[in-house]
Amino acid sequence: MLVSDIKSRPVYKGLTVDDAARRHLVAAEGEGALAVLEAFGDAPEAWSRMTLLYTPGGSAPANHAEALQARAPDAFHLHPTRQTLMTRLRALLDTATMGTRLYATGVEGFIGQVVAAGIEHGVDHFSIRTEHRGSLARRVQCVHCKGFMDDVTVSPVTCAHCGVPLLVRDHYSRRLAAFQGVSIDAECPGDVPAAEEIFK
């Protein structure tokens, strides 16, 4: 489990199956597939009530999609990218019925986006079951131009939108699903330390 002393970072408690749920709406990314396989095990009953969305990301060579599909979830949506997965998830949340339980697993930026989409659809964030798997890469928002960057592994990082060199702060917004990036050379223009790979 990801242990952290960043006060605003969510705690990812791990996927546990809600036996009372009538529908398991599961969003998984990359190595998150393994968390789903472990949590739901081989209880066919649970898989038969599952709508599963999966995007392999960097884990494509491991072919987790095949293992997931082999458990015969009631509906299986395989997506080429996180973006397409999120589009499908939003559509499913629009029509979700009472008794639906939302789960999210994968890298932090992915979990965050699923949780944020849930909140937008009136799901209490405490009720969403989450498990971190994969790298420690961060999703970052530039506080100046508000542009987002996925899978940031270094700090400082140059904003891909406005070009300002950003310090990646240890401060996380659940609503934005991102850490905050703030100008690192505002008080010493041009004096930008070398990027360090700290979120691996």
């Binding site: 960043i6 006060k7 240890d170 609503r175 008080e187």
Partner: protein
Amino acid sequence: MTIQFKSETFRDDFTFSNSPEAIRRFPFPFDKDEYMYAVNIEQHMPGPIKSPYEFPIDIDEHYVAEMRDRALVLKEDPLRCQSLPHMLTAEWDLVELLMESMAKNYPEHFELTREGDAWHWINRPLGIDQKFTFGDTSTLPYPPMEYITRQCQGDFCLCDQRNDDLWMDAGIVTTQADWSLDFDVGMSFKEWHGPVPLAHDIGVFDRALKFLLNLQQGRPVRRLNWTMTINPRLDTSPENYHKWGIDRTTVTPENVGNKVHLRVELQALWRLPRSNAIVFSIRAYLIKMEELVTIPKWGRRFHRVLRDLRPELADYKGLTRFRQMTVDYLAKHDDGAPTSPGFFPD
């Protein structure tokens, strides 16, 4: 008691300054010669006449200029004012709190007439005369919180209370000490306080939250917080930090008295009647070092506070680059004499 509103700026040519009366009523935040975080909360009772604590909402000579600055910030960046859909009742609560308080305590400047839900609000300094239906958003030119806070000094956060926590679910923040409302919306009490050093470990936020969860209607509380700002700039937001951060490098021994400002936040908290939300007001007061040292006790005391401040706090508040130069300036105004207890001038 008519206030003479000044015409002044908080950006570009920075013409802001305090009158001698404004200096005397400045909410100096140190009652001792040293400073550390604490749960410094007291009842928000009427204070001495002419002090910023005399009335629940303080309106002063900077009112009109500050409202103009707020309008400029909002025009550039509408995300400084946000409210989640469930906060509408709290927004109306805020309209009532501010209009009632301003009209009652500054009748020369503000007037409120209520007949059931038919309200009539007059704001003379800003030239506003508005009839509206309380509770009907379509009868105001802005959403309720934005409408009234475009006419009231200070930033405001509206916090919803649920799951034994407070949630920053609405606010208008244009005069902040380097934090982002857009980033913090939706956070809980300890989450939005995440970046504050030391205070979590000594239990300040545990105790403060517990206290606030039990805040009673009709019994508001207040506290003071402080930082320092270069130039009298109200909008020291993270959003614009890449533009104003450079100011911190412009302090010299020659201009320190004029450029370096103590920035004090008078923060008050009320429980709101209809929504059960809490409103947190953050009213910023600025005073340059040259003005501060005209009150000898304050010059002496601030010298000692700043000199001995823990480095973690100095870093967090962003003082590190100009702290020593300011301490050197203030040292010339500290003769080593003992200071009397309490905040007020001798």
